[in-house]
Amino acid sequence: MRWVRSRSAQGDVRGPGSGGQDMDPIVVENLTKRFGAFVAVDHISFSVKAGEVYGWLGPNGAGKTTTIRMLLGLLKISEGSARVLGYNPSTHAKAMQAQVGYMSQLFTLYNDLTARENIRFYGQAYGLSQDGLKRRQAEIIEMAGLQGRENELTANLSGGWKQRLALGCAIVHKPQVVFLDEPTAGVDPISRRDFWGLIYSMAKKGMTILVTTHYMDEAELCQRVGFISDGRLVALDTPDQLKRTRMHGHVLEISCANTEAAMRALLAARESGQLPLDEVALYGAQIHAVVPDAESYKEPLAGLLASEGIAVHAIEWIAPTLEDVFISSVKPRGE
């Protein structure tokens, strides 16, 4: 067996499969998945540290779920290597799966079982002892805030409860690594906050978490975020650092008298090439325009609007949102 050593190994995690060698719980090098001629995952390399909350943001079909399925040993790796807790998922999936948790966007719960029965079901599937299961059941019910609802049918639980129950079931066997694939789709913001509180309390105990998401506010919550597009990892850093380094151009926020007329003028100016506007979008009573450089384009923008008879109140250079940065990073350059 060949071990891939990570440059950033912390030495504080010893995956049982790693034979005592220092290495990050998830290490991926040049991971590739081909379906015929189609490259779903294209030479992706990254590693996740123990206790880290690591997020993946990307459009549908970018390769997020395919990567997770390879890491779980459910899908054959075409090229490159992956180690989860030191195990090679292609050859040691079973041993690895005993120490890995997985929660899919579908919340794979049995609706006709109660919350408690669902936990028991998963515990038994993972081979927990009768005693261990009892203890774990109580822990999970407390962790997920399900006290008082443990005997309710899962079908009758609302989205937020179901989600926390699904997470509880995914970690019933105390895994060291947890994969969460769009875990909060369709859950309200308050429940989502609670859920993220749980994720961080798990990470604090040393669990390593890889989470994929569509929500920008969730991506903001990850310690590091990878942008996935067309099977490739196009950027990887902390959310703050991504905003500082990966945005092409600057965002200007324009406040003016007739927002709709201003929008029409700016769209026309972009169309004709009069101004190099990367994005023009209505945000309520304001317009956001992405320009190559804030300072040198404030004047021309104001001039254009003034020539259309639109009174400009303010043009401000504002910080990009993570979504701005994401859109800017995955857009093909030099069209």
């Binding site: 909350v53 943001l57 990307g58 459009p59 549908n60 079909g61 970018a62 609302s158 989205g159 789709a185 369709g186 859950v187 309200d188 913001p189 308050i190 429940s191 906050r193 609670d194 993220w196 509180g197 994720i199 961080y200 309390s201 990470a203 604090k204 569509h214 929500y215 920008m216 506010d217 919550l221 927002t259 709709e260 007329a261 929008m263 029409r264 769209l267 979008a281 209505l282 945000y283 309520g284 009573a285 949102t321 979504e323 994401f326 859109i327 995955v330």
Partner: protein
């Protein structure tokens, strides 16, 4: 009357009650709402808040229990035909016929809406161009990506040239790139056609795209205001930091003087305070006394999400 001309969607004392096995549920509870012509109005709220029910009552797809509701001056209950003619609607779980092509879907909806052949020939190419679907006219609906399906649904909802569109969570499950594209289309409709857009969404950041936002919670419209005004409704100013010991720090800070509200944010705490400089030092000192550190203490601007959570909590406390 110029003033009523401007009001496109209006409700007063609107109530929708459902009977269930265990009793009655007030899905819409005494809602007063006004959306002006050309406005983009976002109805924001968690699942189960009553957004879909309210939209359907206004459209006349569900009967109201009490109160008034109208679109373009047409009563939801009595003028449903007029509403159908002038309003476009995308339901939340709306699925286009997957075995029809993009073009066939467009013709199908145009026929349902009674659009003449000649008008169809004029409008459909424009709408497909607008939705970026001109190169996919022959593709089956079922084989479109999630984002393209939503764009096709939007194009179909516009085929009878409505002056109002009501969209129920149109970007649910759609990825960030497609979501951006979809909102850019709505922006064009607002800027170029002056369409009134009523959109339900659970995404807080989409509220920023709207002129006015209604926050809905448990059937009640908690507040209606512009996104900027809503963000100003949070108490005091906002400090963000990562404490070394989360739960004890949270409990400690919550009880401190000048702390108006505490929200959790992953491993961070969001603390609303009356005086940023003063409380910042006090929090640092108090945590240090308990041998706790706080990393990355800084003041941040509250976003829609923080405001929303704060407002709902206040509502729940009442």
């Amino acid at each position: 009357m110029a003033t009523t001309d401007e009001v496109t969607i209006s409700t007063r004392g609107l109530v929708k009650r459902f009977k269930t096995r265990t009793g009655a549920v007030l899905a819409v509870n005494d809602v007063k709402l006004k959306v002006l012509r050309g406005e983009t109005f976002g109805l924001i709220g968690p699942d189960g808040a009553g957004k879909t029910t309210m939209t359907r009552v206004i459209l006349g797809l569900l009967t109201r229990t009490a109160g008034e509701s109208s679109i373009l001056g047409y009563d939801s209950m009595h003028d449903t035909h007029k509403i159908r003619e002038r309003v476009g609607y995308i339901a939340q779980q709306f699925a286009l016929p997957g075995d029809l092509t993009v073009l066939e879907n467009m013709h199908f909806f145009a026929n349902v809406q009674g659009v003449s052949r000649a008008e169809q020939r004029r409008r459909i190419p424009d709408l497909l161009e607008f939705a970026g679907l001109s190169n996919f006219t022959g593709r089956l609906g079922g084989q479109l990506s999630g984002g393209m399906k939503k764009k096709l649904a939007l194009a179909c909802s516009l085929v009878h040239e409505p002056s109002v569109v009501m969209l129920d969570e149109p970007t649910l499950g759609v990825d960030p790139v497609s979501r951006r594209e979809f909102w850019n289309l709505l922006g064009k409709l607002r800027a170029e056609k002056g369409l009134t857009i009523f959109v339900c969404t659970p995404y807080m950041d989409e509220a920023e795209r709207c002129n006015y936002v209604g926050l809905m919670h448990q059937g009640k419209l908690i507040t209606t205001a512009s996104p900027g005004e809503i963000k100003k409704m949070v108490p005091g100013r906002l400090l963000e930091f990562t404490p070394s010991n989360f739960v004890p720090a949270w409990r400690l800070v919550e009880k401190m003087e000048g702390v108006l509200e505490v929200q959790t944010y992953g491993a961070m705490l969001h603390v609303f305070v009356d005086d940023v400089d003063r409380r910042r030092t006090e929090i640092e000192t108090a945590l240090a006394a308990q041998r706790m550190t706080c990393q990355g203490m800084r003041e941040i601007e509250p976003r829609m999400e923080e405001a929303f959570i704060s407002l709902i909590r206040k509502q729940r406390a009442q």
